[in-house]
């Protein structure tokens, strides 16, 4: 008999033994070492054990009787410490064993990030029965909390299991979306939503700082200061092949023990199988390929010919209710095409990645019924050209007519209590009731419910509710959608973001049924603005969704250089500021210095890599960005007013400066410019601005909706204010109303023309309480945005972005 020694009684070696005993029951005398004090069990079923859906006994693959029947000498609970290849012995903790053939099947070790406190009791990995039992025990204390570090497959299964056992669970994930290696952002968003629904907290882009506790883990602290109570911390951040034995024995190594297609290492009598091997540069972490390896290794040991081949892999998450599937390759390669299907009503998302005539990758969430069929197409490299148009609908549709994605699904998916008309607080249910009561036109619904009777921006949504309810009985007027990524108009999208409380881009893409993975250059800047305007504290502004000028905080010029324009509050400057500007112009070789039409100075022709440095110089002189590049507050032009002018009635300069200091930094649908003139002679040209104030003896005349660009239009009188405070409050409320309601890229005059000045007046002049609420909301938003972007971007780390990533002209060619 051949003396076969096996190191590691895990899932891979277990399979090898099964094949060997089946094919040649008498051929091998097996000694089986295992560091764990037990034999082979189905490791992937630890998750059901953790959640309580299965017991350990139910997941044992080989019990004592099985080992006995096959004459296996079991040395469980004994770690192998070395291999002596010259003497052909394996050195265990309790003694040596001689081998003719040796299998190394030591699996992997969980990776532990050495955060401060990572070695405290109560910090566990998720790999074996001991870890699982430690978690079950921690969950035994009522009200206990768990923090899971790592939002991959293992981390989420641990989180779901702990939650089912009643713990308070938070998952920390360092990337922007969960399971980032298997899922794209939308599927990651849906998964997060489902987990949150079952009470699991999820923090993405989380930067863990330390694990703390007195003698035992008590909490996890993040870089941003957040502190999360924790009775147990599960670190599930990845695995590393357990390959030290191979290394120490001098076998040929890569990142793990290198094997050939027959699972042979560089020593002809030593084989390796499972997660401890590297084949053709690849490592392994799922069982499907390990079972293939096991089969090949058994045949090799039996002297038969076989070769291991890499196959496509697929992933499913073993958390009940989170139906997801991912297979194939999204990451690399050229000439690829995406097909996206979204059904917001049912929370379904599917994406196929096609290369040439082949399906190469698939991600699905919410409906994975067809996943095996898609996986088959990927594995077999089936030619899908014939069914390309209907492929996404799955096998049932092949040969039949395909259902197109319903453009109104997003509205159909709204619950009855979702608010459709923000002005009058009318919900979808109210509208449905009025339709049931016979209101079959927009006007009729408007008359009965007041929905869309005020600013009118929700008319599109009311029409869609009518269309869904009445079917062909209602003729939809055709409004222009935002872009080709969606059927919805800007106004629809704005209302739906509020009604459905959508607070992230993936939420908008999915819940509103976007047709592209992440929008385009037309819709993304708009969505980014809507999200930050509606949820200033929840949504993080995304610079990658902004046009170049707003991302780089400078206006790009036709030659690729930039212009730099510091604020001059209300057009007032000082000799020191002027000197600093002159010095900066000299130091950075600025070719053109120009006085602008907005009462300040423009430095034109600055190189991109000089921007952080010139900003820092101007900052040092007390100046901040003039935002000459934003859809935001630009300038407040003033005249000299009562301070100097013999006609001045009020302090127009002072009021202009106050307004500029309140409004600066805020983002708006389009740019906002103000003028404050000290008397009706109007030297500050206030009557053609978005907001223009004319000071008079009795107070302030506040005009809005003027224009002097492509259109020329005089302001219309919004209100007269008797005090400066009142004037300021009216201006802020107007700007906030504009921010909350206007379509992206509508200047104020275009928006007012749509909603009517009367409605604007009702909101902010007649209704003092509403005016105060608008001012409050503006202040909340400014608590985030009223800061100098130059100062932020001139800091060393953000400033790196303005430089080359690499300079290959400095590298020597090989």
């Amino acid at each position: 008999m051949t003396r076969l020694v096996v190191i590691g009684a895990g899932m891979a070696s277990g399979r090898v033994l099964e094949h060997l005993f089946e094919a040649a029951p008498e051929k091998f005398d097996v000694t089986l070492f295992n560091a764990e004090p037990r034999g082979n069990y189905n490791r992937i079923m630890l998750s059901p054990v953790l959640s309580g859906e299965k017991s350990y006994a139910e997941i044992v693959t080989h019990d004592d009787a099985w080992y006995g029947a096959h004459g296996v000498t079991c040395r469980f609970g004994e770690r192998v410490t070395g291999i002596d290849r010259d003497r052909k012995v394996v050195i265990g903790e309790k003694g040596e064993v001689v081998y003719d053939k040796l299998i190394v099947a030591t699996g992997s070790n969980p990776f532990i990030i050495p955060f401060p406190g990572h070695d405290l009791p109560g910090v566990v990995a998720y790999r074996d029965l001991e870890d699982t039992n430690a978690m079950i025990e921690a969950a035994g204390t009522p009200g206990a909390s768990a923090v899971v570090i790592g939002g991959g497959l293992l981390g989420l299964e641990a989180a779901a299991g702990l939650r089912l056992r009643g713990m308070d669970v938070t998952v920390l994930h360092n990337v922007g979306h969960l399971m980032d290696r298997q899922l794209d952002e939308t599927a990651g968003y849906l998964l997060k939503k489902d987990l949150e629904k079952r009470g699991i907290g999820v923090i993405t882009r989380a930067a863990t700082k330390a694990i703390e506790g007195d003698g035992r883990v008590e909490r996890v602290v993040l870089e941003d200061g957040t502190s999360l109570p924790a009775d147990i911390v599960v670190m599930a951040v990845g695995i590393r092949p357990a390959a030290q034995l191979g290394h120490a024995a001098g076998l040929e190594m890569g990142r793990a023990i290198k094997v050939d297609a027959q699972m042979r290492t560089s020593d002809p009598d030593i084989f390796a199988v499972g997660e401890c091997v590297e084949f053709d540069g690849a490592l392994f972490g799922l069982v499907a390929p390990l079972y293939d390896q096991a089969k090949v290794l058994a045949r090799t040991l039996l002297g038969e010919e076989d070769a291991f081949r890499m196959r496509e892999l697929s992933t499913k998450l073993k958390v009940t209710g989170c139906d997801l599937f991912s297979a194939g390759d999204f990451a690399e390669g050229e000439e690829r095409e995406d097909i996206v299907f979204r059904d917001p009503a049912r929370g379904i998302y599917k994406r196929l990645v096609i290369e040439g005539d082949r399906l190469v990758g698939a991600v699905m969430y919410g409906d994975t019924a067809d996943s095996n069929w898609f996986f088959g197409l990927i594995k077999d490299a089936t030619d899908i050209d014939e069914m390309r148009d209907t492929l996404i609908f799955g096998p049932a549709f092949q040969g039949g007519g395909a259902a197109a994605a319903d453009p109104m699904a997003a509205v159909a998916a709204l619950p009855d209590d979702a608010e459709i008309c923000g002005c009058n607080g009318i919900c979808k249910g109210d509208i449905l009731k009025s339709i049931a009561g016979g209101a079959h036109t927009l006007d009729a619904v408007r008359a009965q419910t007041k929905a869309s009777a005020s600013c009118g921006t929700c008319s599109g949504l009311v029409e869609q509710v009518l269309a869904i309810t009445l079917g062909d009985g209602f003729q939809m007027p055709t409004e222009k959608p935002v872009c080709t990524c969606t059927e919805l108009t800007h106004e629809d999208v704005r209302r739906l973001i509020k009604a459905k409380e959508l607070k992230s881009q993936p939420a908008v893409w999915q819940e509103l049924g976007w047709k592209t993975p992440n929008g385009c250059h037309v819709c993304r800047p708009a969505i980014n603005f809507y999200l930050l305007a509606d949820w200033p504290l929840d949504y993080l502004d995304d610079p990658q969704s902004r046009f170049v000028n707003e991302r780089n905080h400078a206006n790009i010029q036709k030659d690729g250089t930039y212009s730099v324009m510091p604020r001059m509050w209300g057009g007032i400057t000082t000799p020191d500021e002027l000197r600093a500007i002159a010095d900066a112009a000299d130091k950075f070789g600025v070719p053109t210095v120009k006085v602008t039409g907005g009462q300040r100075i423009d430095l034109l022709g600055v190189r991109k890599e000089d921007l952080p440095a010139i900003w820092a110089d101007l900052n040092d002189a007390g100046m901040v960005s003039g935002h000459a590049y934003t859809k935001g507050l630009r300038t407040v032009k003033t005249c000299v007013g009562s301070d100097w002018c013999r006609f001045g009635t009020q302090d127009s300069t002072g009021l202009g400066i106050k307004l500029e200091k309140i409004l600066w930094g805020s983002w708006t649908p389009h740019k906002v410019k103000l003028g404050v003139s000290g008397c009706p002679r109007n030297c500050a040209e206030a009557t053609c601005k978005d907001v223009g104030i004319i000071c008079v003896d009795s107070g302030y005349e506040i005009g809005v909706a003027g224009a002097a660009g492509m259109d020329l239009k005089e302001t219309e009188l919004l209100a007269k204010a008797t005090s400066e405070e009142e004037a300021i409050a009216l201006v802020i409320a107007f700007v906030q109303l504009y921010r909350e309601n206007a379509k992206y890229l509508d200047r104020a005059y275009k928006w007012v023309a749509k909603v009517g000045l009367d409605w604007v007046r009702e909101q902010i002049v007649d209704d003092a309480e509403n005016r105060a609420r608008l001012v409050d909301r503006f202040e909340v938003s400014q608590s985030v945005y009223r800061k100098d972007p130059w100062a932020e971007h001139a800091k060393p780390k953000p400033a790196q972005r303005f430089h080359l990533l690499a300079d290959l002209t400095q590298e020597a060619a090989e």
């Binding site: 922007g176 990451a331 993304r524 036709k558």
Partner: protein, 110 residues
Amino acid sequence: MSWIDIGHIDDIPLRGARLVKTHMGCLAVFRTGEAEVFAASDSCPHRGGPLSEGIVHDRKVTCPLHNMVFSLETGEAQGADEGRIETFAARVEQGRILLDGTLIAARGAA
């Protein structure tokens, strides 16, 4: 093919780009996904717009000057526009960005 390591994936913002200087001029490395990059010429064939400053969506970029859209996979202009940008092999491995090594050697080429 030899590969050169030019930096960590997080040096490029998601749906952003950074420039790499080579003997053939500046090329842009775009990050389209958590671990997906493409390398292409930085210069728009229309009027030389810096593509690295464009908005990146799906596997495409929109030129910041006049909104031509290019596929980062093929380099072809999308829609009705005509034109093409040169693309280069790039990939991500273990969080590192790797570019086609011949870019170092190509002194004076093109």
